[in-house]
Symmetry: C2
């Protein structure tokens, strides 16, 4: 079981969580429960580290030492894990807390954004077999066997799936503030429907294309280890949630399962670059060196030996990307560079696409009928993404939701 | 260097602490710095554990699981240690934090009030030799090699002295909100003087008899390992503070060095108990079993085969003590039991007492001249304590301070 920050925001909510845990214990299950920091705590701790790294009179660009940042921030989950264990014990349910270093949850040493390398669940299993609920501090691990590491924001989902995989758990229940995975964002499309099941591959695309229900890395680990993951609401768990599972288990395969969107997009276009071999590496090499992740790329047909090249990055990396291009202007030799941060990406996702040809065509026609111009297209086996003007994003998502027959009755 | 909660209460104060640390580094010293939780944090965390142990509708007497209490509470020092390390690194002073389990600071497994069993300082020494300031989370250790333990309130002083002993440090500087150890509490006696030096033995008596400058256990460890400890002010360190040292180093030995008092006293009298062998064990056995610490004891001269016996306990243990006595009323056979919590203990302390006879007599006469009745007396080689009515405590301390010529000119 995994509970996020809003589910453990105060002592009353922690007690509610303890009740849900006690219910599973009563049903005869051995339970490990992964918790995030109380809502707001992580932000407070991060702000403190930022303050500590920026003395008054400085330029305000100081970055906290990453190892020590992790020491401070990991305290948030430690407190919640301890409090939940206290609460469970007070209710007569034996429980003990497990911090990253105690499990141990081994991670890479990229502090602040560490990657789980392995969960040695032997000690935890022994404790659970002896009747103790394992209360795991999410989001944290241990690097190099001795330093506290954190997984980056949202990492508690990943902790939970990794612990479930390590334990060989029957299921990993992610309790959150929504009651499952929807066909699209219900705030934009009131007719969005909860999906009772979704294939791992689809969820991975949904998460990486903008759906915020689960962290991408957690879905990767679930898919890799085939851990059945259930997403359900802390406040109305009886609603049933959504089960992530192998695609074989999903009987009815519509062409499109869900629609995701992301506003965190920015577009850069290089005009009139020489259409010669090596030009792509001249552009994307410097961007990679600058740590910029390039997402969609499109190159126009060549005219008079020159061409235009457009690509997208996240908005946070736009400035860095433009800087890297300008620094290498001499080798790239473009005539002009333009950029636009008022763009958004809309994606349709579905394993059914493999069996249904013409799925993309429906997307293009639907958008065209609404007068929405497609700027860039990117496809994979089970998704099609398009870049459009940001102000059309709700319109596009609603139109596609109807076109692919996803609307609730 | 050790800094308490008020010295690290916010980011500005942590920066001030970092400046003091950087100053010592500049002077060519290798520095380990022990920090408490930010003022108020420990109280908040303790309140949360108490809340977690007491569900609504309960009797409110629930006690948090001690192991998990420690997990929650230790987070306070973890945050401060991380923040100070971030601050130092941002100032260009290489630093790394050390939590109890990382050092390791081995303790007994009495969670919530663990006793330091040993500091394995090898890893810390290596890091310090490589030029890193060691920032140690005070108040915490590791029990049974795997669980977080805490030393009980005020334990950061003890952590600091133990780390200094483990490192073989030249000196342990305890920075606090007063500028040293005084002849007595300056809030009661404005003419109290700061002592430039005090013998370990004297400080131990001062601390255990009520002076709140240092935790008793920290003085014990300092004395055992002969660690020179200096108490000085975080805000005016230039004032010089007080050095705890071997008594041989103290040249001028007045009969009395300081005067301590404690209001945390309660008196119990058993009237008309049979004056027979084994009566003391019949009384104090049950008290020991109930975990009550008995301090002063006095027994009247026997009359008609019976006697009165008076002893003192802390006010917090009064109820428990009375309960234990009542439970064993049949075996003790007293006629009556009375108690009084409006009492206080006043003590004079000084290694000079050994060489000066008649020191106690001055105390008794001084109190008698002021019309203060002495209820119980207890002595050791270097102290005399008397129990008096609480309302006379300030008067008694002031009169004794003058009588022993401790007043500042």
């Amino acid at each position: 079981m995994k509970f996020g920050g809003t589910s453990v925001a105060d002592l009353d909510r922690i007690r509610h969580v303890a009740t849900l845990v006690a219910g599973e214990v009563k049903r005869g299950h051995q339970v490990a429960v992964v918790v995030s920091a109380m809502a707001g705590e992580t932000n407070k701790l991060v702000a403190w580290t930022n303050d500590a790294a920026n003395p008054p009179g400085g330029n305000g660009h100081g970055v906290a030492n990453a190892r020590e940042y992790d020491v401070v921030v990991a305290a948030g989950e430690q407190v919640t894990a301890g409090l939940l264990a206290v609460t469970l014990n007070a209710m007569g349910v034996p429980a003990r807390s497990w911090l990253g270093w105690q499990i141990p949850m081994k991670t890479s040493s990229v502090h602040g954004a560490a990657r789980i390398e392995g969960v040695d669940a032997a000690a935890m299993k022994k404790s659970m077999a002896a009747g103790e609920v394992a209360v795991v501090a999410g989001f944290q691990g241990v690097a190099d066997g001795e330093r506290i590491s954190t997984l980056g924001r949202g990492g508690s989902d990943t902790s939970a799936v990794a612990v479930a995989a390590g334990l060989g758990a029957e299921r990993c229940d992610i309790y959150t503030d929504v009651d499952g995975v929807y066909t699209t964002d219900p705030r934009i499309v009131p007719k969005a429907r909860r999906l009772p099941m979704i294939a791992f591959e689809e969820m991975l695309e949904m998460a990486s294309l903008g759906a915020k229900v689960l962290q991408t890395r957690s879905v990767e680990i679930a898919m890799l280890h085939r851990v059945p993951v259930r997403v359900l609401s802390t406040f109305t768990p009886e609603a049933g949630g959504t089960l992530l599972c192998d695609e074989e288990k999903i009987v009815e395969k519509k062409p499109v399962t869900g629609i995701a969107y992301s506003r965190d997009e920015a577009k850069i276009t290089l005009h009139k670059i020489p259409d010669r071999p090596g030009i792509a590496s001249a552009i994307f090499g410097p961007l990679a060196e600058a740590g910029v992740n390039v997402d969609m790329i499109v190159q126009n047909v060549s005219e008079d030996g020159t061409t235009d090249l457009t690509f997208t990055v996240t908005r946070g990396e736009l400035k860095r990307a433009l800087g890297a291009i300008q620094t290498h202007a001499d080798t790239i030799r473009f005539r002009d560079i333009t950029h636009d941060a008022a763009v958004a990406k809309v994606s349709i996702i579905g394993i059914g696409m493999r069996a249904h040809p013409g799925v993309a065509q429906t997307m293009f026609k639907t958008l065209s009928d609404k007068g929405i111009n497609i700027q860039v297209i990117s496809t994979s086996e089970i998704k099609v993404s398009v870049l459009i003007e940001e102000e059309y994003v709700e319109l596009a998502v609603r139109a596609l939701h109807t076109a692919y027959e996803l609307d609730a009755a």
